[in-house]
């Protein structure tokens, strides 16, 4: 269907521009459907470390998501992974690897890497950008963790010390020591991750960093750096830094938003979407379904000055969960789904959504939509609310993504499968 005049309404309206929405939109557009993605703003993918975490803790640390998923799904019947098969997860990972062309993703669901965080915890991730994989403490040798004085969002000394302690506790101690680069040439004292990544696009700046690194790093060490090594040019910046220092370099995701790797991934998926002819409407919000005799025929979209319907045959609802506002909790404690008013499974008004201990399992954490086997949101009786609405990503309840390290896997696989279901119907 590509290349046909776009005189008619869209086939699919995708609500939400995060990981789940973009994956679904790219798949559908590449298959030739007319896709309009409507996003209230830029999605939270830009805050993500862009590792593809499938299952990190369940609750004990998971070594192989592929092996752990069936048991995990059985133990958590309301979890999205009870709907998404391990095979679908693997397919979606493969799809993503083929669709990010700015750099490679490495790893697969059969084993978790343990990649250092900015505070030095080895964090389980199944799939990660090639720029990060060298930090895998399952195999890594001694490390020099290098920070920059101009960058307040990465503290190499704390990361290195914690990493040594944590890897020792895990049974394979990794030597790690901090290096703090002065970089008087940076030009200003207070960089955010993005500002610094833009500086790394400049070859002269990179070579100064490399020179300082060479002087500070010992011969056998792998260099860990905050994930700010370039924006669009990350692969060449990273490669060049390795050549210039003569040492392997890996990136450590920074925790304080925004995330440079997340922006790289978002940018790569957006480029794919553009190339496939998908349309992207930014700053507009879905405020309800457009119904005709009970059938959903479009989505009511609020833009400047008015609310108007966008007609379509299918909807992918990927507006995010509690963090993004796809699921809203009122002062009364009631949770609702904001775009289409779909029924939310979770604590009701007056229920204790949150418990007194920070680390408790808060009932509200898992609030969200329930879906059928084709990812269609269901009502209390288990029947789809609309036959042509599919949910993807964190708007689906049942997971504790922060703790399980499961959010990316859920978003990727459900975005992939929602597109699958629509493509199947489109024939």
């Amino acid at each position: 269907m590509t290349g046909q005049p776009r005189t008619a309404a869209a086939d699919v309206v995708v609500l939400g521009g995060g990981m789940a929405g973009l994956v679904a939109a790219v798949r559908l557009a590449e298959a030739g459907l007319r896709v309009v993605t409507v996003a209230k703003g830029h999605g939270s993918l830009r805050l993500s470390p862009a590792t593809i975490d499938i299952l990190g803790y369940g609750p004990g640390r998971v070594d192989s998501p592929a092996q752990a998923l069936p048991g995990f799904a059985e133990a958590h019947p309301g979890h999205p992974y009870a709907v998404v098969s391990p095979a679908a997860v693997a397919m979606s990972v493969q799809w993503l690897k083929e669709h990010v062309d700015t750099y490679s993703y490495v790893g697969d669901p059969s084993a978790n890497m343990l990649l250092p965080t900015a505070i030095g915890v080895p964090r389980p991730s199944a799939v990660a950008p090639e720029t990060m994989a060298g930090g895998d403490v399952r195999t890594a040798g001694p490390m020099a963790i290098a920070g920059l004085g101009v960058f307040k969002d990465f503290h190499p000394a704390l990361a290195a010390e914690n990493l040594q302690a944590a890897t020792a506790a895990y049974g394979r101690p990794v030597q790690a020591r901090p290096v703090l680069l002065d970089l008087p040439s940076a030009g200003q004292p207070d960089f955010g991750a993005v500002g610094l990544a833009r500086r790394f696009e400049d070859a002269a700046f990179r070579s100064q960093v490399a020179a300082e690194l060479r002087a500070a790093v010992h011969g056998e060490e792998t260099i860990g750096m905050p994930a700010v090594l370039g924006m669009d040019q990350a692969r060449s910046a990273w490669t060049e830094l390795q050549q210039a220092t003569g040492r392997p370099v890996f990136e450590i995701p920074t925790a304080v938003p925004p995330s440079v790797p997340g922006m790289r991934l978002a940018s790569a998926l957006h480029a794919r979407l553009r190339r496939a002819g998908g349309r992207f409407v930014l700053g507009a919000e879905a405020v309800g379904p457009q119904l005709s005799n009970g059938t959903l025929t479009g989505v009511r979209i609020s833009s400047a000055a008015r609310v108007a319907p966008r007609m379509c045959r299918w909807v992918v609802l990927a507006t995010g969960g509690l963090a993004s506002g796809g699921i809203e909790v009122e002062v009364s404690g009631a949770a609702s789904e904001r775009a289409l008013g779909l029924p939310v499974h979770g604590p009701g008004p007056g229920d204790a959504g949150f418990l007194p201990g920070y680390w408790d399992d808060h009932p509200m954490e898992t609030a969200g939509l329930r879906v059928d086997s084709r990812l269609r949101p269901v009502g209390p009786g288990g029947e789809p609310v609309y036959p042509n609405v599919y949910a993807a990503g964190a708007v689906i309840g049942g997971a504790r993504p922060w703790r399980e390290k499961s959010g990316d896997g859920i978003s990727l696989s459900t975005g992939y499968l929602a597109a699958d279901a629509i493509l199947e119907e489109a024939g």
């Binding site: 005189t7 830029h42 938003p257 992207f280 700053g283 833009s303 000055a305 008015r306």
Partner: protein, 408 residues
């Protein structure tokens, strides 16, 4: 709702800020200069320290008012609007240069320049005169300023016979100042394209929408301008005319900014807002309903398309792409850049010209690399900036449609 309560609605949107910094990653100005601390900083963050006294943060003047922060914010913070209001307070308290007063009034420039267009254009293109203007007024010597057409769009339109069109769609054309004084050809083409699609086009009396005043922080005068404009358009809106704009930023003023930034709130404005459409939005709506004339002739050109920030502020995506896709043999390259830097009058200013050119450098590079026959863009000041930055001719999407329809 009163204007004050409306003000609260904008200010209160700072409650939605979770500090995620997405606005700062999208801000084109903060990306090129440390002088601007970024939209999160000057918007929801600094706003908590304002309100009880003096305006103390001059850095917010480096905001170009492009509005990309509001657009990018996933939580619904009206970042740019908060900034604009804070800047108005700043200018009220600390005064503003004559330059800002002058460049913020296109009708004044138009009325002065049009009768003496050759002279005015000579002065504007004279290096010495521009140097003087830079020294005395602070308008950068190289900044892109348009040429006076000499004959206004309205004076052309007055001499046209009443359109014989039996069209059923009633359209009131909001051409704006730039079409009237600088690009009357665009107005002629827009009217022709609309008429070709069965529109009965009328030209209500109209002046400046006040946008340049607003973006320079001169709110009282801006409110006066927009109220006069709205008073002229409201009778049409109430009679069911669709108000169609070719100046995407002036259209946005009617749709949203008059209310959200200037705090104007009345029935007339509501009627006008809800009936106002950007011309590509309007035509794409016809297309979606299957009612657009599709008798396009091949246009064997390669064009780039840049959706300017003010166009994105309509939250309608890029309808121009859907329209241009209908034109046979037209190759359209969609550019992925947010801003050309000019932001209305921002890039004219001596102290901001370099920043504006740096903001636009990515876009200029992409256009030069694409080697297009034409650079398509919906906003007039952006077209002038693109031409200034790339040397390429830049046109409004409707000009391509006009050609494809074979209208002249």
């Amino acid at each position: 709702m009163t204007a004050e309560q409306e003000f609260d609605f904008i200010r209160d949107s700072l409650d939605h800020c979770v500090k995620c910094t997405i606005c700062e990653t999208a801000c084109p100005v903060a990306a090129v200069t440390p002088l601007f601390p970024g939209p999160k900083y000057v918007g929801p963050q600094a706003e908590r320290f304002r309100g009880a006294g003096q305006s103390v943060d001059a850095s917010l003047d480096y905001c170009s008012s492009c509005g990309i922060c509001t657009l990018a914010c996933p939580q619904g913070v009206h970042v740019a609007e908060i900034n604009s209001r804070a800047r108005a307070v700043m200018k009220q308290q600390h005064g503003m240069p004559l330059r800002d007063q002058l460049i913020a009034r296109p009708p004044l420039q138009g009325k002065l320049g049009t009768p003496v267009a050759p002279v005015a254009n000579f002065v504007l293109s004279n290096r010495l005169a521009r140097l003087v203007a830079e020294k005395t007024l602070g308008i950068h010597r190289n900044a892109p300023v348009p040429k006076f057409a000499g004959r206004t769009f309205r004076s052309w339109a007055r001499r046209q016979p009443a359109p014989a069109s039996a069209g059923t769609r009633r359209v009131a054309y909001f051409h704006g100042c730039s079409t009237n004084y600088f690009e009357p050809g665009l107005g002629r083409k827009a009217v022709a394209v609309l008429a070709h699609n069965g529109c009965q086009v009328v030209l209500p009396r109209q002046g400046c929408c006040g946008l340049p005043l607003q973006s320079n922080g001169i709110f009282d005068a801006a409110r006066g301008y927009v109220r006069r404009l709205v008073a002229g358009l409201a009778p049409y809106a109430k009679q069911g005319y669709t108000i169609v704009a070719t100046s995407t930023s002036c259209g946005l003023m009617l749709k949203r900014e008059a209310r959200e930034i200037l705090g104007v709130e009345d029935d007339d404005l509501r009627a006008v807002s809800s009936q106002t459409y950007d011309i590509c939005e309007f035509l794409a709506g016809l297309a979606e309903a299957g009612e657009l004339q599709t008798d396009f002739r091949p246009v064997p050109l390669t064009v780039t398309y840049h959706a300017p920030c003010q166009q994105q502020g309509h939250n309608i995506g890029k309808p121009a792409l859907d329209l241009l896709a209908l034109v046979p043999q037209l190759k359209v390259i969609e550019l992925d850049r947010t801003c050309c830097g000019i932001a209305g009058t921002y890039g004219l200013k001596r102290e901001k010209y370099d920043i504006a050119m740096q903001v636009g450098s990515g876009l200029f590079g992409d256009i030069r690399a694409a080697r297009p026959d034409l650079a398509v863009c919906d906003s007039e000041t952006c077209r002038w900036q693109i031409t200034h930055g790339t040397g390429r001719t830049s046109v409004h999407p409707v000009e391509i449609l006009h050609r494809a329809y074979g209208l002249g």
